[in-house]
Subunit: 152 residues, 3 copies
């Protein structure tokens, strides 16, 4: 156990994985914020701040801002989890520290840019490009895992 | 390898992570149960138990009970996966056994309460509170990871 | 660290986990392909290839083929992530190599069949059966983790 924590590459993985997972978790309160300010909920029991049944029904309609944040959250799940899984295995293959740091930093940076592009609806290709950069980084780590640890 | 499995904290992590992931997986058969009893499916090929095309089309409409379980499942993905990732790194930082157990138990307990609150549509703040407790537990573990393993 | 990578079971886990996570990631470009060919997007900024506001609005309608791939992707998240988490802990419990390989191969195979069944809308029970096989494989690994590493 102490072994793992003595590896700089593994420490770097811990740091960047935690940061990017925290970023992903932050999408949940952001969704909550948009739900509150836009008064758009998905559950009947969440609309109890209003008394009138009609007002409550209206609060159950979808809101484009809420849906946008939710899509961004789902995209995080689809990209950040693969990074964490493959990044963990990658860190265990013992790559160069500088190469590993490059992968971790580029991925985490790309996901922050992706979130900003998505939530603020910046014109394309800002969102698309940041998504592609993250994908390529994860593929590059997967390539190293498969070439050093292949056992079929 | 034997090393990891000799650590009580790591064994506790294995136990609680497995339990809470099994709980998350249980949402899938629960969705299936509601789809069957409510006759609400998303795929044309799933409605083949009926012969009439109109009856099959009707079975493709969304059902509020099914959607509720699906939202609960997605919320599990958004919260339990971060717990598993950050909890694994947390267990490797060598925390006190009692502190670690407290984190794991509170998180897993909060997610069971969350599921019951969500599926039974209990009045707020039961669902909201259980969600917040789980988030705080994960943040607390992330704080420990970042303060003991920071390598930027 | 070298320790883990000297274990054949762990190497096999690395290989199969990476392959099945890459399969999951492949759903994203596949969604992109269907969005492009069906001209069905979720974000206003993604429809900028057209000038007319009406044409752009039309491109924001949902398309059944796109939705099908997205459901398949979400189903991957719901099943492949639990496999990766429980499979990692399972690999650390030191199972027989042949038993471990059987679990990994059956799971990964079942998910490839699941994807083909889902995307091509093959008649049931091809999709349902492949999903069940994957679930049972993960449960079987979870059983081993809980019986060898239980610490409540």
């Amino acid at each position: 156990m102490a072994d793992l924590m003595n590896s700089d590459v593994f420490l770097a993985f811990c740091t960047y994985a935690t940061i990017v997972v925290l970023k992903m978790m932050f999408m949940a309160p952001l969704t909550g914020y948009f739900r509150m300010t836009r008064k758009a909920f998905s559950n009947w029991e969440d609309t109890a701040m209003s008394k009138s049944p009609e007002a409550r029904k209206k609060m159950l309609q979808t809101n484009p801002d809420v849906e946008r944040v939710r899509r961004c959250h789902l995209n995080d799940l689809e990209n950040i989890i693969p990074f964490v899984v493959i990044g963990l295995l990658y860190a265990l293959t013992g790559p160069d520290l500088s190469t590993a740091l490059l992968h971790f930093r580029v991925f985490v940076g790309s996901r922050f840019i992706h979130t900003v592009s998505y939530v603020l609806a910046l014109p394309q290709p800002s969102r698309g490009l940041s998504w592609v950069v993250g994908m390529i980084t994860t593929f590059s780590m997967a390539y190293r895992v498969l070439t050093t640890a292949l056992y079929l």
